[in-house]
């Protein structure tokens, strides 16, 4: 009974997730839970499986769940398609989104918004993301690194998912853009948002930790070789990692 009750308080509950890509097992029994309204961060060295975890939560078919469960809003979404999960309230920021020729940024934002006559809202959201001039351009065509991030966050702000998955949102972003991106993410997760009242949850991958200046994260994890090896207070963890490297976290696992 207790565990059922716990499920209901969690927006996302991942249990013993084993995931393969191209028949190679990448994630080995990963478990984590994100309560409603909370943002968590993942640290870890390259190749540790962080991106794989986010892509699996979103439901991209290449990422095959061998065992374990993904529970979202109390529903088992482990075998749900990407679009069903998106409609249920999961959204992801792509690191390298594809160019779709002839499909305009405006079309993408409108698709995310899922309602007609959203012109005014699209204009408002685009203004906030400093993307007004990009609305009539082919999506991602010739966009710089920072422009891709802003475009992704613009789309997410229209989609307004309850769970926001962000994969290194600050990577490749110059200083000028970082505060804009930080505040866009903050408004995606926080209370200040033109579409909704409630606080959303987030799962954020970060190398540098810069993004922690903009979001309020209570829980952090370190992923290493396909496992979560450490859990703690994000800023503490970041300091330890900065001082002693990920090796310290590995020790933590051995203990």
């Amino acid at each position: 009974m207790d565990s059922e009750k716990a499920d209901k308080e969690m927006l996302l509950d991942i249990k013993d997730l084993v995931v393969s890509v191209d028949n190679k097992e990448i994630l080995h029994k990963v478990s984590l839970s994100i309560p409603y309204g909370e943002t968590q961060v993942i640290f870890g060295p390259n190749g540790g499986g962080k991106t794989t975890l986010l892509m699996t939560i979103m439901g991209f078919p290449r990422y095959q769940v061998a065992s374990g469960k993904i529970i979202f809003k109390g529903k088992d979404v482990t075998v749900m398609s990407v679009d069903e999960r998106a409609r249920l309230g999961i959204g992801i920021m792509f690191q390298r989104p594809p160019v779709v020729r002839g499909v305009k940024t405006r079309d993408m934002v409108a698709a995310c918004l899922k309602k007609d006559n959203g012109e005014e809202l699209i204009a408002e959201l685009a203004g906030k993301a400093n993307m007004t001039d990009f609305l009539s351009r082919d999506i991602n065509h010739g966009f710089s690194g920072g422009e891709i991030k802003r475009s992704e966050l613009l789309q997410l702000s229209a989609q307004s998912p309850n769970l926001v998955l962000l994969d290194e949102p600050e990577s490749g972003v110059d200083l000028e853009n970082i505060s804009l991106i930080g505040s866009l993410i903050n408004s995606l997760l926080g209370k200040v948002h033109p579409i909704r009242e409630r606080t959303n949850s987030g799962l954020v991958i970060t190398h540098t930790g810069h993004i922690l200046n903009y979001i309020n994260a209570r829980t952090g994890y370190v992923m290493f070789e396909g496992k979560i090896i450490c859990e703690g207070e994000p800023l503490d963890m970041l300091n330890t990692i900065k001082e002693k490297g990920y090796r310290e976290c590995v020790k933590c696992l051995r203990k």
Binding site: A86, R87, P98, V103, D107
Partner: protein
């Protein structure tokens, strides 16, 4: 027109009656009847049947309220039934009338297309075919486009058409042509010769929408001569089923800095065969061209050609053929060709044929679109050719035609 020219054209045509075309399946003209070529009459086009008007409207030809058209021409089978122009400096009539009216007419008759190119051009000459004569006088500019409709009506008929388009110096001419038919599954054949003469500094936009039917054969034969600083912007849309369609218009950029641009949007449903190309000869110094083709097969066969030839210095051309294969059958054969005959020219091409990228579908699905919505959004984007220099009204018409046809696609 002087008798001598007339008789030499006839001689050449007679010699070519059995000459197979270089491209496209050979069509036996004996399998068709030839409806009478009657004298042009000028009727009120709004009195055509509702069904015919609806067919015409789908190709951009508006008859009930043509306030956004500066002139109208309609030919049903082989007889012009309406011609009108509403603007000074703009002439719209049947070619048979222009032939009588202007003694210089022979200078424009079979000068951009060879009368003995093949048996189809020969057939058009030998049957004293009619068609439209559209001309802008020097400096005249059409505010709204002129519309023309070539309507194939009689079962088993050959429709012969011969059009002449002249944009005099410094004029600007916008034409929207709809070719369609009342036939359903019955056979018919449309042969349309079009000769364009774009004088110094003149600009012509020509937007042609073809809505045919599964048993109809279509053999347009087009030639365009462009003088110094002249511009042709040619848009072609064929998205409905068609039995056998073959066209390969040629533009001759003879003048300095002459420009020809071709945009084609083709969709071949199952059972359709389309062989569509554009040829541009860059003969004038500094002349330019761009050929863009977007093709989709949902089961039919498409050959998408492009040919550009550089024969003068400082010419520039770019050719882009992109094809999408939707579904399990159908084929697209892209044949881009470039020929340079001297140094100092700049011709390039890119061609790509394939399925929709799964990565793009998944991207859209992650925003909440289901697979079908994602696919149709990507296809709509693929067909969304940005046509530089097309007036907004015509661009709207074009987008509307594409949109209407898309509804049949999914």
């Amino acid at each position: 027109m002087p008798e001598k020219i007339n008789s030499s054209n006839l001689e050449k045509a007679r010699a070519a009656v059995n000459k197979r075309a270089a491209l496209g399946a050979d069509i036996d003209l004996n399998n068709y009847n030839s409806p009478a070529h009657e004298k042009p009459v000028n009727t009120d086009p709004s009195e055509l049947s509702a069904k015919d008007k609806e067919k015409m409207l789908a190709t951009g030809v508006i008859l009930d309220d043509p306030s956004q058209r500066m002139g109208t021409f309609i030919q049903i089978d082989n007889t012009p039934v309406h011609y009108s122009a509403k603007q000074d400096g703009v002439e719209v009539m049947a070619v048979s009338q222009a032939k009588e009216k202007y003694d210089w007419f022979g200078d424009y008759w079979w000068k951009a297309v060879s009368v003995d190119a093949d048996k189809y051009t020969a057939h058009v000459e030998l049957n004293e075919s009619n068609g439209y004569f559209i001309r802008t006088l020097p400096g005249a500019k059409t505010t709204f486009p002129i519309q023309a409709c070539l309507y194939l009506n009689k079962v088993g008929a050959i429709q012969d058409v011969h059009n002449i388009i002249i944009a005099e110096e410094g004029s600007e001419l916008h034409i929207i042509t709809g070719c369609t038919t009342s036939l359903h599954n019955e056979p018919g054949l449309h042969i349309g010769v079009s000769e364009f003469y774009i004088k110094k500094g003149a600009k012509v936009t020509f937007t042609m929408i073809h809505n045919w039917e599964p048993a109809v054969g279509v053999r347009p034969r087009t030639g365009v001569i462009i003088e110094d600083n002249g511009l042709l912007l040619n848009n072609y849309v064929a998205m409905k089923p068609v039995g056998s369609l073959q066209l390969n218009p040629s533009a001759y950029c003879n003048g300095e800095n002459a420009t020809a641009r071709f945009n084609s949007v083709l969709v071949a449903p199952s059972g359709s065969s389309m062989d569509v190309g554009s040829k541009v000869f860059l003969n004038g110094k500094g002349s330019k061209t761009e050929i863009i083709a977007r093709t989709i097969t949902t089961g039919g066969e498409i050959i998408s050609r492009g040919y550009m030839e550089g024969n003068a210095s400082d010419v520039k051309g770019h050719l882009e053929c992109r094809g999408l294969i939707l579904g399990d059958s159908g084929s697209i054969h892209a044949i881009p060709e470039l020929k340079g005959n001297l140094a100092g020219i700049d011709l390039s091409h890119e061609a790509a044929v394939g399925k929709i990228a799964e990565e793009e579908v998944e991207y859209l699905m992650s925003r909440g679109l289901d697979r079908d919505e994602a696919t149709s959004t990507i296809v709509r984007g693929f067909l969304n050719v940005d046509i530089e220099g097309l007036p907004p009204l015509l661009n709207d018409e074009l987008q509307k035609a594409i949109k209407d046809s898309e509804e049949d696609m999914f």
